[in-house]
Every structure is written in C-alpha cells, then in structure tokens.
C-alpha cells in the first residue's frame, strides 16, 4: 500500500477500497434475504405460536403460555427419546455401512468410480415416499427377507433385542430404523467419500513403515484424517432422521411413533398449533445442543 502508483489519485484509491469492504455484504445479500424470509420469519412466527392459547374456531392469542412446553414434553417425552434413539441407531448403521463403501469407491473402484457414485445417489431420482413404500414390499411378511430372517433364526435375535415384537419384520422398530438408515445412507456416503478420496495413501505406507498393523493404521491414521467426513456425514444423517415422520408412519406401529409424526399430527389433524410449535422448538433446541457438544467432542477445528 506504500507503493504510489503515478496517475492514480488517492481519492480514487479510497473509493476502490470502500467498494472492497462492501463486496462481501453484497455477495451475502441473496443468502441473507433467503434466510430471513424462509427461516427467521417462520421461526419467530412459530415461537409466537407456541406461546399462544385458544382453538382453531375462536382463534389463537399470544398469552405467553409457557406451560405448553412443559405439557408437551411431559406427554411426548417417550416419542422424543425414541426419535433420538432411532435416529442415533440409523446413523451408526449408515456409518458402519457407508464407511467401507466410501473407502471402496474412493480407492478401490478404479474406472467404476463415477458409476458407483451415481448409484449411491440414484435413489434420489425416486420420491422419498415411494422409496419408503418400497420397504413395505421388501419387508412384507411373505417376502424373501422375512423368510431369510425366520429361516436363519435371526428373527429371534431381533425379538430378543426388542426390535421386532412378533415374527414379522414390517411395522416394527427394526423396519423404521432400517428405513431411516436406507433413506439417509447417501448423506453419509458422500461426505465420507469426499474425505477419504482426499486422503493421501502415502500416509498408509508411512504408518506401515512405522510398525503399525492394519488395525492401527486405520485407527491412528485413516480414521482421524477422515473425521471431517465422519462429522458431516453423521450430522447430515442424524438431524433429518431425528425429525423424520415418514418412516415411522409407513414402516412402524403405534409403539414406534417418532416426534416428527407427533408434530405432524398436532399440526394437521389435532390442529393444536401451540403444542405442535412447542414440540418443534424443543426438537430444534435438543438437536442444536447435541450437535454443539458432538462437534466440540470431535474437535474438528483441530483437523486439517
């Protein structure tokens, strides 16, 4: 900046610099507008809704009725807890299935890489509802999957785990978790793939050279270097899965109701808007807190 460019007056230079400070704001504007219209405004209206009393015929008025929160939580905490457990289980399953898959696509698939990546996102070409309905057919009582579980006795393992209650797979916690895991698998695989694809395989050579066996190479080198992918993958899976209501509705029973389903019912059928809004807020707050703790524990800012 100490350099004086002949023929350029200082005034002009200052003008250029001021334009420079505003540029980021201008670039941010569309996103800010979007967030304001579609996130901030609805959030406030939802917040206000959750503190109103009344009914659909006589209208709702804002009475700062915080009691709704306590009542909602008192009544629906089992569905809350269940949502977190189901979403957590589905996340673990997608991680266990997705990690080897992502590794294979990133480093072992050769010229089939693009094709496999397309296959991973292929389910998105079908509607979410249709995909979930397909699982009704997959897990149907007379189908081969149920047959297999019965023939091998795995059904008893599931019963013992409390994942099914009868000898049917459909309409059980097992079906709901399977559906969730299936539907959100791509959200896990894609970030993992990105992380693992970037991983320099020479670190693996170095680990082997430094006396690490296969397991230690994975645990001390590959896993920590892929943590950014693991964190984004688990968040992208867990957050929507916790609020999901399609899987529990189509694949579950009355004992597998998740909080999304309750909110759905309160909003659209019971028409108890304050309770629905309060439940939405509790869900959001819970997830934000959990994500915050999780990201801090994973220590992603320490990573490259």
């Amino acid at each position: 900046m100490a350099l004086v460019v002949p023929g350029v007056r200082p005034v002009k230079r200052r003008a250029v610099r001021r334009w420079g400070t505003f540029t980021p704001l201008i670039l941010l504007a569309p996103a800010m507008l979007w967030l304001t219209v579609f996130f901030v405004v609805p959030t406030f209206s939802l917040a206000s809704q959750s503190l109103q009393t009344g009914d659909i015929d006589n209208g709702f008025v804002l009475t700062w009725h915080f009691q709704t929160y306590a009542e909602a939580l008192g009544r629906y905490w089992p569905q809350f807890l269940r949502s977190l457990i189901y979403a957590g289980s589905a996340t673990v399953i997608t991680l266990l299935v997705g990690y080897p898959l992502a590794w294979f696509i990133a480093h072992r698939s050769g010229r089939f890489k693009t094709m496999l990546l397309v296959l991973v996102i292929a389910p998105f070409f079908t509607n979410f509802l249709i995909r979930t309905l397909a699982w009704q057919i997959i897990l149907t009582d007379t189908g081969p999957v149920t047959g297999f579980f019965r023939a091998t006795g795995l059904i008893h393992v599931l019963q013992w785990l409390g994942l099914v209650t009868s000898d049917a797979l459909l309409y059980s916690p097992f079906a709901v978790i399977s559906g969730l895991a299936y539907n959100f698998l791509p959200f896990m695989v894609l970030p993992l793939y990105t992380s693992l694809e970037r991983l320099d395989l020479r670190y693996l050579d170095a680990a082997g050279d430094l006396y690490a066996n296969g397991w230690n190479t994975f645990w001390k080198v590959i896993w920590p270097l892929s943590l950014p992918g693991v964190v984004s993958g688990t968040l992208l899976t867990f957050i929507p899965a916790a609020g999901d209501y399609i899987n529990s509705k189509l694949l579950g029973n009355t004992q597998t109701v998740m909080i999304g389903q309750v909110i759905d019912a309160q909003f659209l059928r019971v028409l108890d808007y304050p309770t629905a809004a309060a439940l939405s807020f509790i869900l959001m707050a819970t997830i934000i807190v959990m994500v915050g703790l999780y990201v801090r524990a994973a220590g992603t800012e320490e990573l490259v």
Partner: protein, 365 residues
C-alpha cells in the same frame, strides 16, 4: 539414541535376483546386492530406473515379482512392512498432518510399545535440532524442517536399515549441502546402515561409502565413489558420474603393462590392465576433463598427446574449461585448474596431454 552411538551395527542387507514387474513393464530387472552392516550405501540412477521400487521392496511396501530379500540371515521377503526392522524417510516426508511433531516422531516407538517413547522422541528431535518445535503441527514447519522431522521419525526407532528416498530433493542447494553433512554425521553417530537413493551424483559420491549406479532396473556398476569415478565400466556410468571425453580406439600392440592403441590415426598408450577382456570390439578410451593438461607443442615428457583448436573457453574462478576441436571434428573438454599456468585463448592451437594411468577403457554398450 544415546545408546545408538555405541551399539553394534547389525543391518546387513542382501538382495538376491530381485525382480518387480508392472503389467508389461519391468521396473526392477534382477538386482543382486550385498550391503555390509553400518555402511552408507547410495543408489544412484536417472529418473524411472527403479530406485524407489527397489527401496519400497526393501521396506515391504511393494512385493517383488520374484527374488529374495535377506536382513542379516533372516529371509524377510514374505514379511509385512510393519514386521521389518527397517524405516524409510519418504521423498514426500509423509508426516501425519493430524499429529504434532513429537507424536509424529513417537509414532513408531508407540507401535513398538516402547515405554519411554516421549523421552526418546525428544532426544531424536534434539539430534535434528528441532526440540523446540515438538508441539507444532507439520504444516507449521518449513520444508527443510519437515525433512529433518521425517529423519528423526525414522531414526528414532533404531532400525537395522534406514532407507532414504531422495530426502534432500526438495531442498535448496545450501540447505542440501548442510543436510548432506548432517546426514553423514548422524549415520556415523548411530551406526545404522543407510541406503540413500538419489539422482544427484555429487551427493552420492560425497556421502556414500559405496555407490551403485542403476540403469533401467539393473545395477550397472557398484563400487567406492573414487573407483567408480576413475574407472567407470561403461559409457553410461562414465557420463552419469560427471563428464568424460571418449575416443574410439583399436589395440595395435601389447607390451607388458603397456598397450599401444590407435585413435583416429594417433598412437596412444594405455595401461594393459585397463582393457576389458570380455569386450575386445568397439573399445573407447575415456579421460576426465580435469585429467587433461595443456602442454607446449614440442613437449617430450608426456606420452599421450593430441592437438586441436580452442573453440570455447569459460572461466569460473576455480578453473577454466575449454572445448578443443580435434582434426576429426570431435570436441574434447579440458579443465585447467587456476594454478597460475598460462591460459589458452579462443582459436589458439593447443596440445593436450594425459598420463596413461589417468585414462580408462570401456567396451561397447
């Protein structure tokens, strides 16, 4: 590291008939090699001649297509990398980016379950003068520092053999020279066998006890640096290790340890012992530029003399390098040390001479 200074050198390496093929390409084409324990061994060769592949096979990171690898008396061919008491300083360093320097250096020791790994790692860092950087991440260090960390990380495990794959390749000339001296010092201190891969002939010669020149997957010649330089066996080795003037010759008479040869009609004398016995055709006489002298035209002391015209002269302070054109058109390179003798000028007719003892003879390729 401290006890390393006194510990007995054990790293004896033997490669037997080692081959490595990729699809239809032979990267390593039958290498037989004995590396004595405690030596500083250099593998020298042009790009793509199979140096890295050879090193990776020794480290256990690549499987040989055929052949055997012995460490001392143990056949280690079928063991995995993590089971070999061998460590590598990689060309790219390959420091783990998520670990700080001390954890990088201690990585191998922890895998080996060494209890006082932290103390040892610190000692290794002191050896490479980076103890104050222990808590930093690799990306916070300069290239030369990272290189030293890579060295510490390998050497701290006290392997039987240390493999160095062009570890100085990324450094600037000054740092390179410093690190060469440093490496040599460390090798003498710890007594580990070093196998140092490089394509810098000067680096190989200054550092190593033994140099093997590789070409297209084979070892072309092996020996002490001075022997290799003074008596190269092939034109490839002669040209890879510095410059040389090659003259085609034919043997005309053998008299005891003196053999008379003819080159372009000029009679010259070479030592009989220098003539290869197995390749009598297409012989060439080689003389290094610094072995040639400018002498007066009517000199009678020197036995081997040639005359020509100076077509180029470049002075660099230490010496002057001339190109002297022979009557048959070939230009010979002559280096004259700046020792006060008279310098020739461009276009001048000069006589150059050499001692038969200083020439070498190579067969056809």
């Amino acid at each position: 590291m401290v006890e390393g200074a006194t510990r007995k050198a054990t790293g004896e390496l033997r490669l037997v008939e080692l081959f490595r093929e990729y699809d239809d390409f032979v990267a390593v084409n039958g290498i037989d090699l004995d590396v004595p324990p405690g030596s500083f061994f250099a593998l020298l060769g042009p790009s793509g001649c199979g140096k890295t592949t050879t090193l990776r096979m020794i480290a256990g990171l690549e499987e040989p297509t055929s052949g055997r690898i012995f460490l001392g008396t143990d056949d280690i061919t079928n063991t995995r990398a993590h089971q070999r008491r061998v460590n590598t300083v990689f060309q790219s360093y390959a420091l783990f980016p998520h670990l700080n320097i001390i954890d990088n250096v201690g990585f191998g020791l922890r895998q080996l379950k060494v209890a006082n790994w932290k103390t040892k790692a610190m000692e290794a860092l002191e050896l490479v003068k980076l103890a104050d950087r222990a808590k930093q991440k690799p990306r916070q260090l300069s290239g030369g520092m990272q290189q030293r960390v890579a060295l510490a990380r390998a050497i701290v495990n006290e392997p039987e053999i240390l493999l160095l794959d062009e570890p100085l390749g990324a450094l600037d000339l000054k740092l390179r020279r410093e690190m060469q001296i440093e490496l040599k010092r460390i090798q003498q201190e710890v007594g580990i066998t070093f196998i140092h891969v490089t394509h810098d002939q000067e680096e190989a010669m200054t550092m190593a006890d033994t140099v093997a020149v590789m070409r297209a997957g084979r070892i072309e010649q092996l020996g002490e640096p001075a022997a290799l330089y003074d008596k190269p066996a092939t034109a490839f080795v002669a040209n890879f290790l510095g410059q040389s003037n090659l003259l085609p010759i034919e043997v005309t008479a053998v008299a005891g340890d003196r053999t008379t040869v003819a080159s372009h009609g000029t009679s010259l004398v070479v030592e009989s012992g220098a003539i290869p016995t197995e390749a009598p055709d297409g012989l060439r006489l080689g003389i290094r530029p610094e072995k040639l002298r400018l002498v007066s035209a009517n000199d009678s002391v020197w036995t081997n003399k040639l005359s020509g015209e100076v077509t180029d002269a470049s002075f660099n302070g230490v010496s002057t390098t001339y190109l002297v054109r022979m009557p048959w058109g070939q230009e010979l390179t002559v280096t004259q040390p700046n020792d006060g003798t008279a310098r020739a000028t461009l276009g001048e007719q000069v006589t150059i001479a050499w001692d038969p003892h200083h020439a070498f003879v190579i067969g056809a390729d």
